[in-house]
């Protein structure tokens, strides 16, 4: 009894550490171009709900990186509760608590719970869809049917790829019922949940345009081995010891029902198919907490305690608060404070009260986040020799486009010039 209480206390300490790590160093890194894109509601390739969440947080707390990232912090913590609910539904309380602890300390999920990407809201929604699906198909309670619809619609409207889970569950359900889906409420619910996103895609050409633009290059499986290599190179620094534990947990897969396999497969393959070099897809690897939790639950307490302690140390090595300590494995985002966080004031001072500025070179959405003047993308603009105005130049070779301009500010990253 005493040992059970001690173990339970130990698990809760791990969970609290995981929750706390999601709330640290939120303001430290610069807003990235993708984060700025979502926080500014400026992506033609995505449906509106995910970006609306980020805008809503900024309406309440003000237009800041912390406000935008608070959505990921909150939903990252909610995700842990959903994972507990799924495992509690499938197994016992002890296994659910162990799985919760593993998920709490999963490094890639902690990382992206601190950033304003849409991957944490989507992974939370997908887990909620899975939970509602398992409940709706086992208990047949109308409440869970309704929640399946709500979570499914939410997932599809957070990110376009959100439709993949409901669509695959629908397919799986049809196979399970050998095609007899006309009298199946669950199938109808999943089908209905896909209608709004289908209509949204038809009425927003930007989404189809993005698929056409990246299909066969970034999207797809062409150059499979190169993709696998890139994927593993992307995964390794943000997982370290968690990776071999994931591999070991494959032994427990046969104890999990097929809908969980679907989620695991989607979460693992999504990076391979949509962009192996995009680190934010590692958010979805938190689903591996389910088979890892099963693996740990079957171990003797000392072995389990040791492995959990190693995973905690692993995560702290990557993501401990930068003010506490740094290690050779500390994630690059937390090595030093972001360039724009430390230089934006000086750049804006050089621009003074300018209404607009033309940006030359590689210009990301983060420039619009940090620069107060209206930023025009100068790369395709036909800038006449007589054109007068302010310029931010990211590539010094572009200075030839504005001869005889006066330099107002320069550093190792950019030049602010007036012509």
């Amino acid at each position: 009894m005493m040992r059970r209480h001690l173990e339970s206390a130990g698990l809760w300490i791990v969970i609290v550490v995981g929750v706390a790590l999601r709330m640290t160093d939120i303001a430290f890194p610069d807003i990235s171009t993708d984060e700025a894109q979502f926080a500014l509601g400026a992506s033609a390739a995505q449906p509106p709900f995910g970006m609306a969440l980020l805008r809503f947080a900024q309406e309440i707390f003000g237009p800041s990186a912390v406000a935008a990232r608070s959505v990921s912090v909150l939903l990252g913590i909610v995700t842990l509760g959903v994972i507990y609910g799924i495992v509690r539904h499938l197994f016992d309380r002890k296994t659910a608590l162990i799985t919760l602890a593993v998920a709490a300390i999963f490094p890639s999920h902690i990382l992206f719970s601190r950033l304003a990407y849409l991957s944490v809201p989507l992974s939370c929604a997908w887990l909620a869809v899975l939970w509602a699906y398992l409940k709706a198909t086992s208990k047949r309670q109308s409440l869970w049917l309704f929640l399946l619809f709500v979570f499914s619609v939410a997932a599809t409207l957070i990110k376009t790829q959100g439709l993949l889970l409901p669509a695959t569950l629908l397919l799986g359900r049809a196979i399970e019922r050998k095609g007899k889906v006309l009298r199946d409420p669950v199938s109808w619910i999943l089908l209905l949940s896909l209608v709004p996103i289908a209509l949204y895609i038809v009425t927003h050409p930007g989404i189809a345009a993005t698929l056409l633009l990246y299909g066969g290059t970034m999207y797809g499986v062409s150059g499979f081995w190169s993709r696998m290599t890139t994927l593993l190179i992307t995964w390794w620094p943000v997982l370290l010891l968690a990776f071999p534990v994931m591999i070991a947990s494959l032994a427990t897969m046969k104890r999990l029902p097929w809908p969980v396999w679907v989620l695991l497969l989607l979460g693992t393959a999504i990076g391979l198919v949509l962009g192996p070099g995009h680190e934010y897809y590692t958010t979805h690897l938190v689903y591996w907490a389910l088979p890892i939790g099963l693996l740990f639950a079957r171990m003797a307490t000392p072995a389990r305690g040791l492995l959990l302690a190693l995973l905690v140390a692993n995560t702290c090595a990557i993501l401990a608060p930068h003010a506490l300590f740094a290690t050779p494995w500390t994630h690059p985002l937390y090595h030093e404070e972001g360039y724009w966080n430390t230089h934006a004031d000086r750049i804006n001072a050089a621009l003074a009260d300018a209404k607009s500025v033309i940006a030359l070179g590689s210009v990301g959405h983060h420039v619009r986040w940090y620069v107060t003047a209206q930023v025009l993308v100068g790369n395709d603009m036909d800038i006449a020799p007589s054109h007068k105005g302010l310029f931010i130049v990211f590539d010094r070779n572009e200075l030839t486009k504005i001869p005889q301009a006066t330099i107002l500010y320069e550093d190792e990253t950019l030049v602010v010039a007036r012509k």
Binding site: F149, T203, V375
Partner: protein
């Protein structure tokens, strides 16, 4: 609530979610025309020459005339602290 009543409720909610999107269908239908699809990249290139962020541009109307195809856009620039008034732009090819 019986399961089929829940399905009906969800069907109603689906309809409510889809209604705001229906007015955009005629605009999307324009892209079935090869002339429009051919003219679209040039229209985007014209917007780029103005220094616009394409993600801040929303297509409002397409006018397919015998001699040219014109796209009407609304540009809504948004930064962290500012949302500029919408700007109406027409590009033709």
């Amino acid at each position: 609530m019986p399961a089929w009543r829940t399905v009906l409720l969800c069907a109603l909610l689906t309809t409510l979610l889809c209604v705001p999107l229906l007015p955009s269908l005629p605009l999307s239908a324009h892209f079935l025309s090869p002339r429009v699809r051919e003219a679209a990249p040039d229209a985007l290139a014209q917007l780029r020459t103005r220094g616009m962020w394409l993600v801040n541009v929303q297509l409002k109307d397409i006018d397919e005339r015998p001699d040219q195809v014109c796209f009407r856009w609304e540009y809504l620039y948004r930064s962290r602290t500012t949302t500029l008034p919408p700007e109406q732009i027409t590009t033709c090819r």
